[in-house]
């Protein structure tokens, strides 16, 4: 039993590894996307500098910290591959019916591949990306390397959770013929409640409270808050516990939703 589990884990590792290699192999694509991401991060930096310059609001954080925050949240969006599109394509091309009969769970396979590709991205974004941002902002966040490292660590974990929600979006293609509609909604929730544009502590109280009770909290604001100064909000331990909690819920949700939709597929005969 245990042996079987390990064997399956190994298979998933192989999927992730293959996807990692494949991703690294497409270096032009990797670089191009990276350059775009860096540009969008710089736009964020300028956005916050503008706001600080014109003194519209009293920022409760140093402006450089907010710039770091904004760059990390933007980077998070670029870190994971667009997994829902691969699933959407499998559904539309009908390939999913072949993939379903494999001994390994289709969804586990795709998520592993996503993690592989994400790791390839992380290799570049966490080194060259962080260097670009540091250079452009001109300083480290006030929490220093420790804060930055903590944020990056949790962003990586949060992105795995993000991949799972992408998988859920992908599966909706079985139902809507296209995954994009559902994904866009989810993505907007992530952007708004996750706090892509501003730290969610700046939101009205009720919106902040709402955001705190969603899984997107541990994908974006939760991890990225560690560049905004210590003792702002949660401790790393709290975020870790919250992540585990949402992993459990999400895996359950994904499994249930996947089975429901696959049953539908079998009824329709693909």
């Amino acid at each position: 039993m245990e042996y079987d589990f390990l064997k399956k884990l190994h298979v998933l590792y192989v999927f992730a590894k293959t996807s990692f290699d494949d991703h690294m192999g497409h270096r032009l694509r990797l670089f191009f996307r990276f350059v775009m991401c860096v540009f969008f991060m710089f736009v964020f930096v300028e956005f916050w500098r503008l706001i600080a310059r014109e003194n519209f609001i009293d920022l409760p954080f140093p402006v450089d910290d907010v710039c770091w925050y904004a760059c990390l949240t933007q980077m998070m969006l670029f870190l994971s591959p667009r997994l829902f599109i691969s699933i959407d394509q499998d559904v539309r091309s009908g390939d999913i019916s072949y993939l379903l009969i494999r001994p390994i769970s289709y969804i586990a396979m795709r998520v592993s591949e996503g993690i592989g590709a994400m790791s390839a991205n992380a290799l570049l974004y966490y080194t060259a990306g962080i260097a670009c941002v540091g250079f452009y902002i001109g300083s480290l966040p006030s929490t220093g390397w420790v804060g930055l490292g903590t944020a990056l660590f949790f962003l990586y974990l949060g992105s795995i959770l993000h991949l799972m929600y992408q998988a859920i979006s992908g599966i909706t293609a079985l139902w809507l013929q296209q995954a994009e509609a559902f994904y866009r909604i989810y993505q907007k929730i992530l952007i708004v409640l996750g706090g892509l544009y501003m730290p969610i502590t700046l939101y009205p109280d009720w919106l902040y409270t709402l955001a705190k009770f969603t899984p997107v909290y541990v994908m974006m604001y939760g991890p990225a808050q560690f560049v905004l100064g210590w003792h702002q909000g949660d401790s790393p331990l709290e975020i870790f516990a919250l992540l585990l909690f949402w992993f459990a819920i999400t895996i359950f949700l994904l499994g249930w939703f996947y089975r429901t939709c696959v049953n539908r597929l079998e009824v329709n005969g693909g």
Partner: protein
């Protein structure tokens, strides 16, 4: 008068070499190893009007590359080509009225709509007037027996049905030349036969020149009069199908599933290629032995659950050609 003339055609591609292992991945990330691969080397042939030619060879031989150059999709590296008097990659639009294409792997039909809608769109693309279109469609509908399929969304069709509609779509504007790239790939035996017969009959009726690529010897035997065998980018053989058949495809493969575990079998010109409980694969030399005689004999020995007769795979044909020193 030739429909297609190809002279000294060559085609090279640049490909990246894959290096195994993590260090290989990182290394090739910083310094990829490119090298040139030649897909076609100095190929020349010509095809007369109304001729039906099979372009056969193993996977990666250069068949699809050739057909894509002839239909104007790809540019060659060197060489000259004339199709219906035009240079394909330079006069693509003019050429499109003269040719039809069927790509086994790509569809020209709209997935969610009935085939009829796609046909209508194509008639508008080729500027057919309403009467011509209606006549042509009803003629093809009858020939290809797709009356019941016309109003069925393409996504609900079987692959064989879809392929029939694809071929109709390509014949719609009555092209002088039809290119078929692996038209029977993925089809079952009976669907394959249907497609082959229909392409043959329609091309005879319309006087269409046919160039068909396949790695299935059956496609060539049923549809074509002439065969060009290509391997590793070079023409190995250019001969009438009848010659190829008599010289190299003098074998059939019979697979028997018997109700008894074993049977004593021996016959002149027949070799037992494989033997297992309840199963026997026979290799029949048709120059020495008639296939029906072999079947008759096996039936007299034991009752059968299943019998199938197949052409030898392309690889075997190639092997026997090379063995005879022709290559």
């Amino acid at each position: 008068m030739s429909a297609i003339t190809v002279q000294n055609l060559s085609k090279n591609f640049r490909v990246k070499k894959q290096v195994p292992g993590f260090s290989g991945t990182v290394k090739s990330f910083f310094k990829p190893d490119w090298h040139e691969v030649s897909a076609l080397e100095d190929v020349s042939f010509s095809i007369g009007r109304g001729e039906r030619v099979a372009f056969i060879g193993p996977n990666g031989a250069g068949k699809s590359t050739t057909i894509k150059i002839l239909s104007g999709i790809l540019n060659p590296s060197t060489g000259s080509v004339e199709v219906a008097g035009l240079t394909p990659w330079e006069e693509r639009q003019k050429l499109s009225y003269e040719i039809g294409t069927v790509f086994g792997q790509r569809s020209q039909l709209w997935y969610h709509l009935p085939a009829r809608d796609s046909f209508k769109l194509l008639s508008s693309a080729y500027g057919l007037d309403k009467n011509t279109y209606t006549d042509r469609l009803s003629q093809l509908t009858e020939a290809f027996d797709i009356k019941d399929l016309l109003d069925k969304p393409v996504r609900q069709m079987s692959l064989g049905q879809r392929m029939r509609c694809e071929v109709v779509a390509s014949f719609l504007h009555k092209p002088a030349i039809l290119f078929l790239d692996e038209p029977t790939v993925g089809l079952d035996v009976s669907a394959k036969s249907v497609i082959r017969d229909l392409v043959y009959e329609t091309s005879v009726e319309d006087g269409t020149t046919i160039l068909l690529t396949s790695h299935d010897t059956g496609d060539m035997e049923r549809v074509c009069d002439r065969v060009i065998l290509i391997d590793q980018g070079q023409i190995v053989i250019d001969a009438p199908v009848s010659k190829l058949r008599s010289s190299y495809i003098s074998r059939k493969i019979i697979t028997l599933h018997m109700s008894v575990a074993d049977m004593p079998f021996k016959m002149q010109g027949v070799e037992i290629a494989e033997k297992a409980p309840h199963k026997m694969v026979l290799n029949v030399d048709t120059s020495q032995q008639n296939v029906s005689a072999v079947i008759e004999k096996t039936l007299s020995l034991a009752s059968m659950r299943d019998i199938s007769i197949e052409d030898p795979p392309m690889e075997d044909v190639l092997r026997s050609i090379y063995k005879s020193g022709q290559g």
